[in-house]
């Protein structure tokens, strides 16, 4: 780990983002006298169309953009892994069926599911959560299935069967620990995807509602002032891209390290 500066840098940036989310900053109070202000000591990145501090909004936006994504990815990973593990261990027709179902499900974009959920519910954070959970577990199920099928053929599983271990014990105690590292690396790679989907739904007005600070929603609001104050689009856009990029790089490093590729 020590010899990989990219890995360390990415991990540090992610840690900083996760901690910064809880800084007690004022991201919602408006000040119409100071609309579209440039950078100053009081407002390092200036203010937006309602005179709110842009830096504070970006930092507090981490709560929704990064923490919400993190929780969503962990839940999706847990569900997908469990499904893939059980189907992979059962094998045969169950495994084939799961693969066919997943082939269809991975072609459904989160944005479309989000639109449908928003149509039958209200736009909001609950809608975001449902849309991401409905689509987010499938890549984990696919990977966990492949890993389980591979691991099941190994001798240690045969040994466990010979010792009388049950199917659930073998899947969870013997196979899962051997699949957890590639799954963790995959979670980092999926993180970027989920982050972008959530921010995209908020951009469309289906997720976080104003005045909640969220990067996608900030960008949508700033787009109305693209001509006068392009920084209101560029700054949240940069936050989204940097967060997605850093976690993707982290995932790629971990994947290369742990998958032995």
């Amino acid at each position: 780990m020590r010899r990989d500066p990219v890995l360390v840098t990415c991990a540090v940036v992610v840690a900083v983002l996760l901690v910064a989310a809880f800084l007690p900053l004022d991201a919602v109070s408006t000040n119409l006298a100071e609309r579209f202000a440039g950078p100053s000591p009081a407002h390092p990145l200036g203010t937006d169309n309602l005179g709110r501090d842009v830096l504070a909004r970006l930092v507090v936006g981490t709560r929704l953009s990064v923490w919400f994504t993190l929780v969503a990815v962990v839940v999706c990973a847990a569900i997908g892994t469990l499904v893939g593990l059980l189907a992979g261990y059962a094998g045969g027709a169950v495994g084939q069926l799961l693969q066919r179902v997943l082939d269809v499900l991975v072609a459904i974009p989160t944005i479309i599911v989000g639109l449908v959920v928003a149509a039958v519910r209200e736009p909001g954070l609950g809608t975001l959560a449902i849309a991401v959970l409905l689509t987010g577990w499938t890549p984990f199920a696919r990977l966990a299935y492949q890993l389980t099928v591979r691991e099941r053929a190994r001798e240690y599983v045969e040994g466990a069967v010979a010792l009388g271990a049950g199917a659930g014990r073998i899947a969870l105690v013997h196979i899962l620990p051997n699949a957890i590292r590639p799954l963790t690396a995959h979670a980092c790679l999926r993180f970027a995807n989920v982050l972008l989907s959530l921010a995209g739904l908020s951009f469309l007005g289906l997720g976080a509602q104003p005045p909640t600070p969220e990067w996608g929603a900030m960008l949508a609001e700033g787009r109305q002032f693209l001509f006068a104050a392009p920084q209101l689009v560029v700054l949240p856009g940069a936050a989204v891209v940097v967060a997605a990029l850093v976690v993707t790089l982290l995932g790629r490093r971990l994947d290369a390290r742990w998958s032995g590729r």
């Binding site: 974009p109 449908v116 856009g237």
Partner: protein, 314 residues
Amino acid sequence: MTGLVGRRLLTVPFVLLGAALLIFLLPRLAGVDTVRAVLRSRTAEAEPDPAVAARVTAELGLDRSWVEQFLRWLGHALRGDLGTSFATRTPIAPQLGAALEVSAVLSALALLVAAVVGIPLGVRAARRRGGLADRVVTAISVVGVAVPEFVLAPVLVLLLAIAVPLLPATGWGTPAQAVLPVLTLACFPVALAAQLTRAETLDALARPHVTVALAKGLGPSRLVWRHGARLALTGVTALSGMFFAGLLGGAVVVEVAFGIPGLGRLLYDSVIGQDLPMLQAGLLAVVAVAVVAGIGAEAVALALDPVARSEAEG
């Protein structure tokens, strides 16, 4: 090969029927009050007049059983009548057709850019693993996947329509208006195509027949294109679902951001306007396109790969 594709085509009506049933039941499963949704889209009143509500219920046939309603909806849909929009009170089918046409052109252009730019980049990167070209292409593709359409769209407008006023910022119809949306939509498929082509070409180049070709004295350029890339393309087409999902989700954002009257915009407007029949018709179109695209991709994969073809036949 035609036999296999034909068998796949036979399943299409059943898939569509299942999807139609799900889409029809969607508002019911979610407990949406259709009458209220209609009235809310037409008037600003919070509490509808009971007499008006009763009339709308009868008008929409909501007083009958859901089976009867579904069959009626399906029967009309099969005759090309997809109902009337709650919001505009005009027939849906012509609007949907026009929107599909726009989105088809937009996605086809983006996919073309992805094929023309992404695939050669991937093949070039695979020629020497870890070389300069490989590192540059990998960096481009990692960044390309991390930049979403809703960031790229305003940034491109800022650069090429506001800072340097070369191109129109919104609209659809002229070739100039298509440039920014197509570039925005193509970003993800280009990056994905480059990544997948690179990985698949590297895999293909590790196979024994490539070593034999190398031993026989084949040049590196011919080797990577004739033996590597051809095999790689089968792998890429097999993952067409990822491209489809990327294009479809991206199309919603791009069409909203650039004000393009396509299918994504239609779905978005119908959600915002609580226009249920329009949303249902749009979703049905999405499923139909997805099914046809899936079969098309499979046919292309079979045409490219003789091994898969013989396995599928046997």
